[in-house]
């Protein structure tokens, strides 16, 4: 049973560039959430996708956008990269969009470094 998979695991970009991160949820899960974790900090919620729509969004600028595909996989796009965007980006999946989240299953993360 495949867990949550993310790609790429590591990447380096320069300021102003754009990046796309990908996530495949755990088998049987249909809801995907994205988190940004800066070094030494807890994960910060970016947004959540269910039925191909953004359902909830954290306090992140519009440079952060996402997409969910019919197979439940998801992408996180960040435009006009800033040095402060350097972080570990975590994808989490769960089953069924509910008002309370329940247990989340996390991927290993994508480590983004912006130079």
């Amino acid at each position: 049973d495949a867990g949550v998979t993310q790609s790429p695991t590591h990447l380096i970009k320069t300021r102003g560039q754009q990046v796309t991160l990908r996530c495949s949820p755990k088998s049987g899960h249909d809801t995907v959430s994205w988190y940004q974790q800066a070094l030494g900090q807890g994960p910060q919620f970016i947004f959540q996708y269910y039925e191909e729509e953004e359902r909830q969004r954290g306090n992140f600028p519009d440079r952060f956008s996402g997409h969910q595909f019919p197979n439940y996989s998801s992408e996180l796009n960040v435009n006009a990269l800033l040095l402060g965007d350097s972080a570990l980006y975590l994808c989490a999946s769960s089953f069924g969009f509910r008002l309370n989240t329940g247990e989340l299953f996390f991927g290993e993360g994508s480590r983004l470094t912006v130079l």
Partner: protein, 114 residues
């Protein structure tokens, strides 16, 4: 301000010692989750607590949620080097009209000396 406060921020203990990590909120929690993260990796789910006064154990790790559902503690008995990592609490916090947001604490870095 951080809605979920964890303490201590870091902890170094000798192998075999017991330790406790705390997670505190100013709001009532509607689901409290403990995760472990190895440095730079994804989070691994440990336990979920939902009822006031609830206590759960898994191997040498015990988590409790207080009656008011505003504070949780994670206790590790007879720590081992394999317990090293970052422990994060996560919680469902009510936002409005019955909706919730899922937030994390700042994490506690645990190092266990052999």
């Amino acid at each position: 301000s951080q809605e979920l406060e964890q303490s201590p921020q870091s902890l170094i203990v000798q192998e075999g010692k017991n330790l406790t990590i705390n997670c505190t909120s100013s709001k009532t929690l509607y689901g409290l989750y403990w995760y472990k993260q190895k440095y730079g990796e994804g989070l691994i789910f440990l336990m979920m607590l939902q009822k006031g006064g609830e206590e759960k154990s898994h191997e040498k790790i015990t988590a409790k949620l207080d009656e008011k559902k505003q504070q949780s503690s994670l206790h590790i008995t007879a720590s081992q080097p394999s317990h090293a990592g970052i422990y994060l609490c996560g919680a469902d916090i009510p936002v409005f009209s019955g909706t919730y947001k899922y937030i994390f604490g700042t994490g506690t870095r645990l190092k266990v000396l052999a």
